[in-house]
């Protein structure tokens, strides 16, 4: 189970007690309190490795072209202006938001239905369905480009964002269903039953009893779907030929040619690509870890 402690600020260790210390306090000292340097030194080194790339891209996006200064001063927003308008990142951004939000809602909704069925019913094809979910995890979307392209051509969806939304949703579904069903399993069935006794229909009972308790799971699954579709590259590259329909990752790739000279534009484009996911990530971080411990690992 998820320990509450995971998301809380660490409790202050008890100071010396005259009585023989209670075991609870003792183990907290023993395990949770490694010597400080054993935490801060490796963490510090790792932080440097993590943060330098972020600093580097920020630096390139903010300093004037041709500057070799290691601080972004004098600061300029020219690169951002340039990629946003000249390089169509404004359009890409809109498209990516549309794809991300649509994928988020479709994935969450379809996965919620499927997850509920898996968590609360026994039915004939349940094992088969679960097997299909599992197997599809191992089907690489990138290797299905040819048939997917043909399907979308048949459906007249090439060059429409719908094709990317559909493809992203489908490839997000298996993991999302598994995650959500594990979350629903953690909500006691008796709570729902009690609501039926009180005269609720199944839908209403689900809405007022289960759904609120599922919030961490839905946030984890939804943000996952959003971040994935925001970041994913190959489907958009393949199914959208029209530049006006492209998404951010494809736009970024076009800035990255082998003899890429406009590094400022590349950096600014990268920042634009990163901002939404970093914001999402900052808000959902603690739910995400709970989401994982309830879902993915315990699957």
């Amino acid at each position: 189970m998820i320990t509450k402690e995971a998301t809380e600020v660490a409790p202050v260790p008890a100071t010396v007690v005259p009585e023989p210390p209670r075991p609870a306090k003792k183990r907290r000292r023993a395990w949770d309190e490694a010597p400080r340097w054993q935490i801060y030194l490796p963490l510090g080194i790792y932080l440097v490795f993590t943060l330098i790339p972020f600093y580097w891209i920020l630096l390139f996006s903010l300093r004037p072209a041709g500057s070799t200064s290691l601080v972004p001063w004098p600061m300029t927003f020219d690169h951002f202006e340039k990629v946003w308008t000249d390089r169509s990142f404004g359009t890409y951004f809109q498209n990516s938001v549309l794809v991300g939000v649509a994928t988020l809602f479709m994935t969450t909704l379809v996965a919620l239905a499927g997850g509920y069925a898996l968590a609360r019913f026994n039915f004939k094809v349940k094992q088969l369905f679960m097997l299909a979910l599992l197997c599809s995890q191992f089907v690489p979307g990138a290797l299905l480009l040819v048939p997917l392209f043909e399907i979308f051509a048949e459906l007249q969806m090439i060059n429409s964002l719908g094709s990317v939304i559909l493809a992203e949703t489908v490839f997000q579904l298996p993991l999302s269903i598994i995650l959500i069903s594990n979350f629903i399993k953690n909500v006691p069935y008796s709570l729902e039953e009690a609501a039926w006794v009180d005269g609720c229909g199944r839908m209403k009972a689900f809405r007022i009893v289960v759904l609120p308790l599922l919030r961490p799971g839905l946030i984890a699954v939804g943000s996952f779907a959003f971040v994935h579709s925001w970041n994913h590259f190959l489907f958009a590259l393949m199914f959208l030929n029209n530049q006006e329909k492209q998404t951010i990752p494809v736009g970024l790739n076009t800035l990255m040619g082998a003899d890429s000279v406009d590094l400022g534009a590349l950096a600014a484009g990268g920042i634009i690509a990163a901002v939404p996911v970093v914001i999402v990530f900052a808000f959902i971080q603690k739910w995400l870890i709970t989401g994982f411990s309830a879902g993915a690992v315990k699957g």
Binding site: P23, A24, R27, A30, W31, D32, L43, L47, T50, I57, A111, A113, G114, A117, L118, R120, F121, F123, K124, L128, A132, L134, C135, Q137, A142, L143, L144, P147, L148, L166, A167, V170, L173, P174, E193, W196, R202, V227, W230, F233, M238, P249, N253, A258, S260, A267, G270, A273, A274, V277, V278, F281, A282, L288, I289, T290, S293, A296, V297, G299
Partner: protein, 310 residues
């Protein structure tokens, strides 16, 4: 595969009495959207790939299209050094990348699982590359490895590496350059998975071990590691499959180059599809990749006992 066909069949009796108040078709209705989407956009394409793998199929050379039997496979195994190279590179890539991710991810998870001042912020910062996409990772590391203005230039000042060549265009350095770039993003993901499981270790065990006088290293070996075993096996396999399949990073970072030395099998497939339009041959290569992945998923099934009662 057969979910849709089975909708009409009578469902099994509901698990509990009271659930019989609901329509018996409800679970089928609930899984129908997911099942249909997966049938149409995963199952059907998979079958198409098998079909195409037996065809000569190139939209730019339609006069040659037709049934080819196993020619595509024979060509791959006997007459295509690029196939073997890419397969070998895939194995090397997955092995090194996932091994290092496991090592660093485990260490990182253990560290941020401790109680310390600034833990929340520390976690947020070290986990942040998780959110960064393959393409963005490439963009960032293209900047870092740039021969004129990258970090590599400053490292050259300190005597590491040399001026003027990008680490990405040198066949000697490109492997490790790409590995480090992918580690930057992969380690946090691994650490998050392991951290999630770390938090479910019962503290009582450590308490008992403490009473018995076990050192922290012994506690790690005898309590933490056995507890994490399943999570480590699962996440390692998932990552291995993911790293095998992932095309975004290498496609945009190196494009498989220089001179094809960073071409994984899926990347080779993507190039065969996008550039050469040799759909039949690409499908045969895909089929080979499937077989390899199927083997992995069987191992995964065995280890995780997926779908068993809790």
């Amino acid at each position: 595969m057969a979910q849709a066909a089975a909708v009409a069949k009578p469902p099994a009796p509901p698990r509990r009495r009271r659930a019989s108040a609901t329509p018996r078709r409800l679970p089928y209705l609930l899984i129908a959207p997911a099942a249909l989407l997966m049938l149409g956009f995963i199952a059907y394409p998979v079958i198409s790939v098998f079909y195409y793998s037996l065809q000569e199929y190139n939209p730019t050379k339609p006069w040659r299209n037709g049934f080819a039997g196993f020619d595509n496979f024979v060509q791959a195994f006997t007459d295509d050094p690029l196939f073997w190279d890419s397969l070998l590179f895939s194995a090397k890539w997955v092995f090194v990348e996932v091994g290092l991710q496991l090592l660093f991810g485990l260490a990182l998870a253990l560290i941020v699982n401790q109680t310390f001042v600034g833990r929340g912020l520390g976690r947020a910062m070290v986990f942040s590359p998780w959110a960064v996409s393959g393409v963005l990772t490439s963009a960032i590391w293209v900047l870092l490895y740039n021969s004129q203005t990258g970090v590599t230039r400053y490292l050259a000042d300190m005597g590491i590496g040399s001026y003027g060549t990008s680490w990405l265009s040198d066949t000697g350095t490109v492997f490790w350059a790409a590995i480090v770039a992918d580690l930057w993003r992969g380690v946090p993901f691994f650490a998050i998975l392991i951290l999630a499981d770390l938090q479910s270790v019962s503290k009582d065990l450590y308490e008992a071990a403490e009473v018995d006088g076990a050192s922290r290293i012994k506690q790690f070996w005898h309590i933490t590691l056995p507890h994490l075993k399943d999570a480590i096996i699962l996440s390692t396999l998932l990552r291995a499959v993911w790293e095998f399949n992932n095309v975004d990073l290498l496609y945009t970072l190196t494009g498989g180059g220089p001179a094809g030395v960073t071409t994984t099998l899926p990347l080779y497939v993507a190039n065969t599809t996008v550039d050469a339009h040799d759909f039949g041959y690409a499908s045969a290569l895909t089929t080979v990749a499937f077989v390899i992945l199927l083997f992995c998923s069987i191992v995964y099934l065995r280890l995780s006992k997926f779908g068993g009662e809790k």
